[in-house]
Every structure is written in structure tokens, then in C-alpha cells.
């Protein structure tokens, strides 16, 4: 059973059942059950807030309220990072299943992406409520821009799915990759505007690097789709500001490229990877 697009569509029931099972599994046996979907991102935010605000006393006016500014980035990044690190061990972890039933194995990485997306949505719903209760002093007042989150979410899903498809193959073929990627993901988080905003980077690069290079470095920094996604969510939700059109363009191009690339990589390795498990 090849993991082609038509087969994925034909087996969407399986994908749905996998996501539902994954969500059930996450709540089974825990006392608070699905409430954890809400507690978990809040606790993570509190830890980062405690470190950043407590230790460094950072809490610039532009970012107020900082906990929500932080939360925006953390739920987004967590969806990506968790899905990628799970994808790396996915095929090997399901070896027995893969070798006993013929099914398009690509549903496994996709189910990880979608079940993680449900946690992301739970966190994001909380963010939307929190923004109303605790609005940013810099909010433009036009709440319509919040609708921008939907296309942003589509791009986020596409990029995460593309990376996860590739990583599930490479993780099965090259076991050491898992250890390496853990560090790459950590660096990736600090290279994305998680704890800070992109204005910091822009200012730093324009003042401390010579003229043409500063702009080039800034462009390179903004090529990171998560710089665009996180800043985009902040614009839409916290500041009521439009996402610049060149960001949309970059995101569309990058997500198409990553999704298509990941799909091609999976197609290429699909059945061949099984005998290496």
C-alpha cells in the first residue's frame, strides 16, 4: 500500500481514527484528562515567563502583556517541535504494525501532526480569550485582523506535515538523527522570535552590521517560516495589525515547497524504509 495522495484520501478514515485514538490515549489514565491540553501550555509559558521576566527583568512595553506575547510563540513552536521529534521514532516504534498490515504508512506522521494540532487549537482558543480579558495597549482596535490566523494555521500545518514526513523516513534510516535533531530544534526555537520580537533582531542587525549585510542577514532571519508564523499570529491576535503581503508570499512559497518536498521524500522511501526497520 503506497503512501500516495490518492491512498491517503482513500484512507482518511484511518487518519481520523488514528488522531482520535491518539487524543484518547493522551487523556486515558490521567486524573485531569483533557484539561491538560489547557494546563500544559500555560505551565510552559509560566516557566519561560519566570525565567525571562524574573532573571533578566525583560518585559518591554512593546510586548505587553508579555505572558500572552510568549504564549503565542510557545504553542506554535511546541506543535512543530513535538511533532518533529515524535516523527523521528515513529516508523521504528510501529515496526510490528507496519510489518503486519498493509496501509499507507504516511498516515502515521500525518496523525502526529493533526493530533498535535488539536492541542495547539486548545492553547490558541485560550489565547483568544486571554487577549480579550487582558488586551495589549498597542492594539490597533480593528479586531477583524484576527481572521488572519486561519491561513496562518494552514501554512503551519503544511510546513509541519512536510518536515514530519521527511523526518519520519530519515529517523528510521538513521537512528542517530534523533539525538542531533533535539539540539537543532532547541537552536531553532531561540532563532525564532519566541522570547523576543523581530524588532529586536532588526534593530541589532541594522546598527551593528554594515549596511548591505544587515539587511541581508535580516532577510535570512525572516526566511525562517516560524519567524513569519509567530510574528503573524502576534499581529493578528495581539496587535490587530495586518500581516505584510511579502510574508504571505514567503509563507505560501515555503509551505508549498516543504510540503511537496516532504511528500516526495516519503514517496521515495515509502516501501523501501520498511526493510530497514
Amino acid at each position: 500500500m503506497i503512501s500516495s495522495l490518492t491512498n491517503i484520501v482513500a484512507r482518511r478514515d484511518l487518519l481520523k481514527e488514528l488522531v482520535v485514538s491518539e487524543l484518547r490515549r493522551s487523556t486515558a489514565g490521567s486524573k485531569l484528562g483533557w484539561l491538560w491540553w489547557f494546563f500544559d501550555p500555560v505551565l510552559m509559558m509560566l516557566v519561560y515567563w519566570g525565567i525571562v521576566a524574573g532573571l533578566f527583568g525583560r518585559g518591554s512595553e512593546a510586548y505587553a502583556p508579555y505572558p500572552l506575547f510568549l504564549f503565542c510563540a510557545l504553542v506554535t513552536w511546541k506543535h512543530f517541535a513535538t511533532a518533529v521529534s515524535r516523527a523521528l521514532t515513529l516508523l521504528r516504534g510501529n515496526e510490528r504494525l507496519i510489518k503486519s498490515v498493509a496501509f499507507p504508512t504516511v498516515v502515521l506522521p500525518l496523525s502526529v501532526v493533526f493530533s498535535g494540532f488539536v492541542y495547539f487549537l486548545a492553547g490558541f482558543a485560550m489565547l483568544l480569550v486571554a487577549v480579550l480579558i487582558w488586551p495589549s495597549p498597542n492594539h490597533s482596535g480593528s479586531y477583524g485582523w484576527v481572521l488572519q490566523i486561519f491561513p496562518l494555521m494552514v501554512f503551519q500545518l503544511a510546513i509541519t506535515a512536510g518536515v514530519c514526513m521527511a523526518m519520519s523516513c530519515y529517523g528510521a534510516l538513521l537512528q542517530d538523527l534523533r539525538l542531533f535533531v533535539t539540539h537543532v530544534l532547541r537552536v531553532g526555537f531561540y532563532l525564532s522570535p519566541g522570547l523576543y520580537g523581530i524588532d529586536v533582531i532588526e534593530r541589532k542587525l541594522s546598527t551593528s552590521v554594515e549596511a548591505p549585510w544587515g539587511d541581508a542577514l535580516y532577510a535570512a532571519y525572516m526566511a525562517n517560516p516560524f519567524a513569519l508564523l509567530i510574528s503573524g499570529y502576534r499581529n493578528a491576535v495581539m496587535f490587530g495589525a495586518p500581516v505584510p503581503w511579502e510574508w504571505w508570499l514567503a509563507l505560501a512559497a515555503e509551505s508549498l515547497l516543504v510540503l511537496w518536498g516532504g511528500y516526495c521524500i516519503y514517496q521515495h522511501h515509502d516501501r523501501r524504509v520498511i526493510k530497514f526497520l
Binding site: 485514538s21 490515549r25 486515558a28 504494525l97 510489518k99 503486519s100 498490515v101 538513521l174 530497514f276
Partner: protein, 260 residues
């Protein structure tokens, strides 16, 4: 009496249900289980210098409708690998494998069962892996509960089940399919004696409904009983294939009576 002889094979040569032509499949030997970074990035197959082993090589097999094939051979002869190829799980590295029709492989039972979920939830999940439509499995749920003898335990988490209960659950779901091509890999020994008899009866029922059956078994008496043809694999190559009686006689003679 063979289970498959009910359907006639006299009609003017319909295309074979299963056709393997020069099928070959290699495995990397254990000392380097994964590919090198370079091979990975270039997508190139490993070089000849890397030690690989052909698990199957030059395997030809043609199964027509109504035939029941047994696959025999010593341990490591490639029987299970051949099953995986036939079940469309592994793709051969050379040659062509054509399997026409809905295949069901009873190769490993109970794979993919999550201990945290209840029996019922696992049935739904496992059934969707097998490609059984949700309505069908929901309609069959009572029958599955009854057959697996799990009636009341079905809503308990599977981690509270005994090994036998898990195996019965897996067997009940896997056999609720009605495949055209059935592949069996030594899964007869499930549960206690009473359940074994029941599962045997269920399998014979499935065999009578399917177009073509392939069975891997170490039990010569079982193979003799249920198959019309036999394929003898030796180190990944076909040593002999043909009517069951002839092949089994030669196979038993070759293994010097050490086989049961």
C-alpha cells in the same frame, strides 16, 4: 478434502490472482542496520561492498483462482519475507509482484494494539488499519465481542487483558474481513485449546470464501490437509513448486525426517 476445491479452475484461463516474476529482495546484514549518510542523501542503493543478503531471489509463482498454496522451507528460507511481499507490505527490489484482489494477511496478530485504550476502541482502530469500513465494524461489534469471548471486558482498557484475551481480540478483528487473497503465517496457535478449535473453524470458513490462499506452516500435516499446491523455498530461492503431494515428499526426504 481441500478447502479451496469448491470453486472450479476449469474455465478458460482467467488471469492468475497472484503472479510473481523473478522476485528478489535483499536485506542489509545486522552489523550495519542503517544506511550511510551519503547513501541516504543521494538516495543511492548500497554499494556492492556493503554486505547484503538476498532474502528472496528469482522467485516465480503463479496462483490461479481456486488454488491453495502452502509455503514450506527451513527457518530463514524467506517464507515470511515472501508473505510480506505478497501482502504488499514490502516491495521487491527486483522482479514484479502482481497481486490482484483484496489481500488480507494474518501475519502477526495484535500488532498496533494500544494498552491504554479499551477493547472496543482498539477494535475500531485496528479495523481502520485493515481498511474495514467503520459502519461494517460497528455492525459486527457484537459478533466480535462474542467470538473473542470478551463480552463484558470489551470496555475495559486492554492493559488489563491477559495475553490470550489480546490475541483473541486481534484474531476476531482480523478475521472479520472477507478477502479475495488470504495469506496465513502460522497464527493458528491462538488462545487455549477450545479457542484454537474455534479459530481453526473460522479460518477454514475464510478459506472457503476466498479466491486464493497462501499458507506458511511448519506443520506438514496441516499443509497437506488444506493446500493443493506447494512452494518449497530454500535460502530465498525456489527449490521446487507443484502439487502438494510431490513437493512435500521431496521436502520431507530432504530434511531427513528431522522435520515434524
Amino acid at each position: 478434502m481441500t478447502a479451496a476445491s469448491s470453486s472450479s479452475s476449469d474455465s478458460a484461463a482467467p488471469p492468475p490472482v497472484i503472479e510473481l516474476r523473478d522476485v528478489g529482495l535483499w536485506f542489509r546484514l545486522q552489523h550495519r542496520a542503517t544506511r550511510s549518510l551519503r547513501e541516504l542523501l543521494t538516495g543511492r542503493e548500497p554499494q556492492a561492498a556493503v554486505k547484503t543478503k538476498w532474502a528472496l531471489r528469482g522467485v516465480n509463482l503463479t496462483c490461479r483462482e481456486g488454488e491453495s498454496w502452502g509455503i514450506v522451507g527451513h527457518n530463514g528460507a524467506g517464507k515470511s519475507t515472501l508473505c510480506l511481499v505478497l501482502a504488499n507490505i514490502l516491495t521487491p527490489d527486483e522482479g514484479v509482484a502482481d497481486v490482484r484482489g483484496k489481500v488480507s494477511a494474518l501475519v502477526t496478530l495484535g500488532a498496533g494494539i494500544s494498552p491504554e485504550l479499551t477493547g472496543r476502541e482498539n477494535v475500531l482502530l485496528y479495523a481502520s488499519f485493515l481498511g474495514i469500513p467503520r459502519e461494517t465494524i460497528v455492525a459486527n461489534m457484537d459478533e466480535i465481542a462474542e467470538f473473542s469471548e470478551l463480552c463484558d471486558a470489551l470496555d475495559d482498557p486492554v492493559r488489563t487483558y491477559s495475553t490470550g484475551m489480546r490475541a483473541r481480540l486481534g484474531f476476531a478483528v482480523a478475521t472479520s474481513l472477507e478477502p479475495e487473497v488470504l495469506i496465513l503465517d502460522e497464527v493458528l496457535a491462538v488462545g487455549d485449546r477450545a479457542f484454537q478449535q474455534k479459530s481453526r473453524a473460522r479460518m477454514e470458513e475464510m478459506m472457503s470464501k476466498s479466491k486464493c490462499i497462501l499458507t506458511v506452516s511448519h506443520s506438514a500435516s496441516f499443509v497437506r490437509q488444506v493446500t493443493t499446491h506447494c512452494l518449497w523455498l530454500d535460502h530465498g530461492e525456489v527449490r521446487m513448486s507443484g502439487p502438494t503431494g510431490e513437493v512435500l515428499r521431496a521436502y520431507e526426504a530432504a530434511s531427513d525426517g528431522s522435520a515434524s
